[in-house]
Amino acid sequence: MAEFNGHLVLQAEARANGRTVLAAQSFRAPFHLSKPYWDEDARTLLVQVVNPTAGILAGDRLESEIAVAAGASLLVTAPSASRLFQMNGGSAECRQHFVVAKDAWLEVMPEPLVPHRGCSYRQVTRVEVEPGGGLFFADLLMPGRVGHGEAWVWDQLTLEIDVRLGRELILRERLHQSGEELRAMAEWAGSGPGACFGNAVLIGEELANDEAWKKPLVALHRDGLWLGLSRLRLGGWSLKMVAPDGIRLRQGLREVRQILAARSPRLACDPRKL
């Protein structure tokens, strides 16, 4: 089985006409980039990162480095879920580093991770935002191939994220539980056997100035969707969601983006446009 040492490097910059372009790009399998799309209304460049292989397998080492310069606005998404396949004693690792300059905007909206039976995966995310920069980062996790009756049966799953604002650590999260531990917690909390997780970080001065958006957003907590929004120590918010299934999670995230787009128009960029 082929193992990949894939990399993805993107550098987004603003041109004199206000449009964002990829001033530099480099990628190697399993990463592939589709043609970027400039969304005139949202003033955001949409980039879709495609994994043309079946998913992530043992031995894969993936590195992403994405930087957005002042004045630029970038949405990075993926067309399909990232499947983490059975690894038979091996493991895979993904390291991603996002840098957002002052007056820049970055949205990272991948489709969910789907850990299959016996996978062993570690994802390390480091985000650095300069004061005055904006970010919407969302990480989604499914419990497994629920449709096949396979859930919560990964061997090792570690998801880490550090977010720094102006070099100061404002958020550290680390999921390292076994599937059985999370399954039992989902049962205890009443989220059911197919509970899915959404973990988002929101940074943006336009959102700080008027918090009227918060009320409709927290009202999304209903019909089995758990949603909580809380202010971080500096400059942003943590948004967490737990849904009974993937459809409800995606629907919740769409509604969140619609509410936020009223205050932060770049979130009106449709990630499924391509």
């Binding site: 550090d162 650590l169 958020l171 680390r174 205890w188 909390a189 909580g228 120590r233």
Partner: protein, 273 residues
């Protein structure tokens, strides 16, 4: 779920039915062995720090922790914690693993850093402690209790370490942390690391149970039986927490974070957090 159903929570070393563990003889903490092989009685020095830790861990000591439920009230409002059984699940599935993976390792690293007067690491730990709490209420609870404990320590025992910590925290804008302040107390009083972690462990579980008695139909005996069960698990959890490196610190319970976030805007509430 039946309260006596054993489910192994392998990664955190906690089982719902607490495993049999070797009890630690408190007489051996910080004391040598008597020549005939029995534990020596505590020395005068250890008697001093034991008394001091009892003082700072007592509900009579004004840390402000009585005003917090540390997310429990939010979980009660969401209908997740309803009775002794669901409270027990919360303790063994979330509270004890979070102690093992977050608060105890923070206290252990801080205890070591205070011993070396490694101020840059202490500053890093203060920031890390705040960053680990995505919920504003949980973060503020730790910061307020941490500040109160550190200031009270400097007031009651004007030890150079406490005074210097307060000066640097003020100067550098470090967020306060209950666990870091507990480590400071331990260092000022000369308590060994295992005693400091034991004190944090006991105070955390006891505070939570004390809050639980106010928001649930839970009696004294029921809460004491839960406390006793949690204390049986303490030696294994404390030992494991001492092995957690800085970059491994962290724990994931989105339901607790969401409930705590919603508690911020609840129509009515008894506790600050």
């Amino acid at each position: 779920m039946s309260s006596d159903k054993a489910i192994n929570t392998e990664a955190v070393g906690v089982a719902l039915v607490a495993p049999e563990v070797e009890r630690v003889d408190p007489n051996t903490l910080g004391a040598g062995k008597a020549s005939w092989g029995q534990a020596a009685p505590p020395s005068d020095a250890s008697a001093a720090w034991i008394c001091s830790l009892l003082q700072v861990g007592d509900s009579f000591y004004p840390t402000g922790s009585y005003a917090h439920s540390f997310g429990l009230e939010g979980l009660v409002q969401e209908g997740v914690v309803r009775d002794r059984v669901t409270l027990r699940e919360f303790i063994f599935r979330s509270v004890l693993p979070a102690l093992r993976c977050v608060e105890l390792p923070l206290a252990a690293h801080a205890w070591q850093a205070f011993g070396q007067e490694n101020w840059s690491k202490i500053g890093e730990l203060c920031q890390l402690s705040a960053a680990l709490k995505a919920s504003q209420e949980l973060r503020t609870a730790s910061a307020n209790i941490g500040r109160q404990r550190a200031e009270l320590m400097a007031l009651l025992n004007p030890h150079a370490l406490a005074v210097e910590y307060l000066r640097r925290a003020e100067e550098s804008g470090w967020p306060f942390s209950a666990s870091v302040s507990a480590a400071l107390e331990g260092r000022v009083h000369g308590a060994p690391q295992v005693a400091v972690l034991s004190s944090v462990y006991y105070a955390s579980v006891a505070s939570l149970l004390s809050a639980a008695m106010k928001v649930l139909r839970l009696g004294q005996n029921a809460s004491q039986s839960l406390l006793t069960e949690a204390l049986v698990a303490a030696p294994a959890i404390i030992a494991a927490a001492g092995e957690v490196s800085m970059d491994q610190i962290g724990w994931f319970n989105p339901w607790l974070d969401i409930a705590a976030a919603r508690h911020e805007t609840a129509d009515s509430r008894m506790f600050i957090s």
